[in-house]
C-alpha cells in the first residue's frame, strides 16, 4: 500500500481518512491524526477529556438526580429508591409518593383498586368455596336425594315451573297477562329454554310498542 498524498510505502502505521489512505507523516502534516492521538492520550493521562464536557455532565446530573430530591418527610426514602426497587420506607411514603405509586401499581398489576377483605373480618372464602368443592358431585345425585325436605321443596318448585311453561307453550299468548308472560319468560331462561324465552320477550316488546 502507498500513501495517496506522498506516494511512499505505508508501514504498520497509517490513517484511513474518508476512504483515503495516508502515511503517518502526511496525516500529521494535515493534522488529521489529532483525533487519534487524543484517544491515545486518554490512556496516558487520567481523565484528560473530562473537563471538556462539563456542561453535558451537569445537565445530565440534573435529570438523573431530580428524583433523589423528592423525599418522604418521615423516613427519608427518595422517589428514586422507590422507582428503582419498588421499596417503601414507611406508611407516610404512600401519601408522599401517591402519584408515582399509583402509576407503578397500574404498570405492575393492571389495577389500583383494592377489592380484598377489610381488616379483622374473617375471610369469606370458606363459605363461598365449600359449595364449589361439593356442588359437582351433589348436582349429579340431586334427583335421588328427593327424600330430604329441602330437596322436596326444590322438586316442588321445579314441577311448578314445568307446569307454567307447559301452560304458556300450549296457550294462545294473547290470552295471558303481561305479568304472566314476564314470569314465564324468567322461568324459561332459568331452565335454559331460550327459544321460548325469546318468543315471550318478543311478545312483551310488541305489547309495549302497541301501548
Amino acid at each position: 500500500m502507498r500513501c495517496s498524498r506522498c506516494g511512499s510505502q505505508i508501514g504498520n502505521s497509517y490513517v484511513r481518512f474518508n476512504g483515503v489512505l495516508l502515511c503517518d507523516s502526511c496525516a500529521r502534516d494535515l493534522k488529521i491524526d489529532e483525533v487519534f492521538r487524543r484517544q491515545n492520550a486518554l490512556f496516558d493521562q487520567a481523565f484528560p477529556m473530562l473537563d471538556e464536557f462539563p456542561g453535558v455532565f451537569s445537565s445530565g446530573s440534573d435529570l438523573d438526580f431530580a428524583n433523589a430530591k423528592i423525599r418522604c418527610p418521615r423516613c427519608g426514602t427518595t422517589l428514586r429508591e422507590l422507582e428503582s426497587g419498588g421499596q417503601l420506607g414507611c406508611i407516610e411514603c404512600y401519601n408522599t409518593f401517591n402519584e408515582s405509586i399509583t402509576k407503578n401499581i397500574l404498570k405492575l398489576q393492571g389495577s389500583s383498586e383494592y377489592m380484598g377483605r377489610k381488616p379483622a373480618q374473617a375471610s369469606e372464602i370458606e363459605a363461598s368455596e365449600a359449595p364449589v368443592q361439593e356442588a359437582e358431585p351433589e348436582k349429579k345425585t340431586e334427583p335421588k336425594a328427593a327424600a330430604k325436605p329441602a330437596a322436596k321443596a326444590e322438586a316442588k318448585a321445579e314441577a311448578k315451573t314445568e307446569d307454567i311453561l307447559a301452560k304458556v307453550k300450549d296457550a294462545d299468548l294473547s290470552e295471558l297477562t303481561d305479568k304472566e308472560i314476564e314470569d314465564a319468560m324468567k322461568k324459561a331462561a332459568e331452565v335454559e329454554d331460550y327459544a321460548l324465552a325469546v318468543k315471550l320477550r318478543d311478545e312483551l316488546k310488541s305489547r309495549k310498542g302497541e301501548n
Partner: protein
C-alpha cells in the same frame, strides 16, 4: 416436617406457600427501622400472639440446628437467619405455619403445604392474620388495602408461590413458553428456579401471583386452582408423550440416574437435580420394576438436595466435603433410610 407429609399432586407441585404481609401503624417498615423500633415491634407482636398458641423465638438466639429447621420449615434465606438485625419467629404447632417478624414487613405470616392444597394453606394463614388484625393497629387504607413495604404486594398483602417440578414440559420443545403465556393470562408469572450457588435447578420452576390489587382473595385462590389444573394436565401429557415416543432413552436415563444416585460418593447439587429430574419424568410412565423407588422417596430426595442448610453455609465444610456429605445423604434416601 410438613414436606414429608402426603400432598395432592406432589409429583408435579412440590409445595404451595402463602405469605400474608401486615405492618403495624406508627413504625417505619423494617428496612428503615432503627434497632429500638425493631425491639418494640418484636415485643408488640410477641404480646399480641400471647393467646394464639404460638412459640416466640429470636433469630439471634438460635443455634445452627434451630436455624436449619427454620431454613427448611419456612424456606427462610441463609443470610436472613444469620444477620444481626433484630428479627424473630412465631412458631405454630401446625407444621409449616408461622410468623416471621421484621423481615420484609413487620409481620409475614407464612403457611406452607406439600402439594397443591392452596385452600388449606390460605385458610391457616388468614386465620392468624385476622387475629393479628383484631389485636393490633394494622396499616390499612380503603384505597390501597393492607400497606406493605413492597409495592408489588400492597393490597391483599398476599404472595402465593408454588414450587413446580416440570421435567416433561421442560423437555418438550416450546412447552415452557406455551405454559408461561398461559400462566400470564391468569396474572401469574413463572420463573425457573435458581439454586443458592447460582446454577439453574433442573426442571424446577417457581410460580407466583402478580396481582394483589383489583382482585379478591377468593379470585386469587380460584385462579390458582385453574392454573394448577392446567399445569398438571400439561405436565402429565408431556411426560406421557416423551415416555411413549422416546421410551428407550427415558428408560436408559432413568436407570442411569437411579444407579448414580444410589452409589455415588461425591455429587454436586446441579448434577443431582438433573438426575432426579429424569427419575421424575419416568416414574409414572415407564416400567420401573427393576428400581425400588416411590414418589415419597423422590420427593424427599428433591427436597433434601434443594434445601440443605449446611450446603448453603458460606463458612464451614469445604466444597469436596459438602459433595461427599450430599452423596451420603442421597444414598441413604435411595436405600430407604431415614436421612436427616
Amino acid at each position: 416436617m410438613w414436606y414429608e407429609n402426603e400432598g395432592n399432586n406432589k409429583d408435579v407441585i412440590l409445595s404451595t406457600k402463602i405469605v400474608l404481609s401486615r405492618n403495624i401503624k406508627g413504625f417505619p417498615f423494617p428496612p428503615k427501622m432503627s434497632d429500638a423500633d425493631r425491639e418494640n415491634v418484636l415485643g408488640m407482636v410477641r404480646q399480641a400472639a400471647g393467646s394464639m398458641n404460638l412459640n416466640f423465638v429470636r433469630t439471634d438466639e438460635l443455634d445452627d440446628n434451630a436455624k436449619a429447621d427454620l431454613y427448611n420449615q419456612f424456606y427462610s434465606g441463609y443470610a436472613f437467619l444469620n444477620s444481626d438485625a433484630k428479627t424473630g419467629y412465631l412458631m405454630s404447632r401446625t407444621e409449616g405455619l408461622g410468623v416471621v417478624i421484621n423481615s420484609t414487613d413487620h409481620i409475614n405470616i407464612v403457611s406452607m403445604v406439600p402439594g397443591s392444597d392452596v385452600y388449606t394453606a390460605y385458610k391457616r394463614a388468614d386465620d392468624l392474620a385476622v387475629k393479628f388484625e383484631q389485636s393490633m393497629d394494622i396499616a390499612y387504607t380503603d384505597k390501597y388495602g393492607f400497606l406493605t413495604s413492597q409495592i408489588k404486594s400492597v393490597g391483599t398483602g398476599m404472595q402465593l408461590l408454588m414450587t413446580l417440578a416440570l421435567p416433561g414440559i421442560e423437555k418438550t420443545e416450546g412447552a415452557v413458553q406455551v405454559l408461561a403465556k398461559r400462566v400470564e393470562k391468569y396474572d401469574w408469572q413463572m420463573i425457573p428456579m435458581t439454586h443458592h450457588d447460582g446454577l439453574r435447578e433442573s426442571g424446577i420452576y417457581i410460580l407466583s401471583n402478580v396481582a394483589t390489587l383489583g382482585v379478591t382473595e377468593q379470585e386469587i385462590i380460584d385462579k390458582t386452582r385453574k392454573v394448577q389444573e392446567d399445569i398438571i394436565k400439561l405436565e402429565n401429557t408431556c411426560r406421557k408423550n416423551i415416555c411413549a415416543k422416546k421410551k428407550s432413552i427415558v428408560e436408559d436415563q432413568y436407570y442411569r440416574a437411579y444407579a448414580v444416585l444410589s452409589y455415588c460418593r461425591r455429587i454436586e447439587t446441579a448434577e443431582a437435580l438433573t438426575l432426579i429430574n429424569w427419575l421424575r419424568l419416568g416414574q409414572n410412565f415407564i416400567d420401573t420394576s427393576d428400581a425400588d423407588l416411590d414418589w415419597n422417596r423422590i420427593n424427599k430426595l428433591t427436597q433434601k438436595v434443594r434445601r440443605n442448610y449446611s450446603d448453603a453455609a458460606v463458612k464451614g465444610m469445604r466444597p469436596k466435603d459438602k459433595s461427599s456429605a450430599r452423596a451420603k445423604l442421597i444414598r441413604d434416601i435411595m436405600k430407604g433410610g431415614q436421612a436427616t
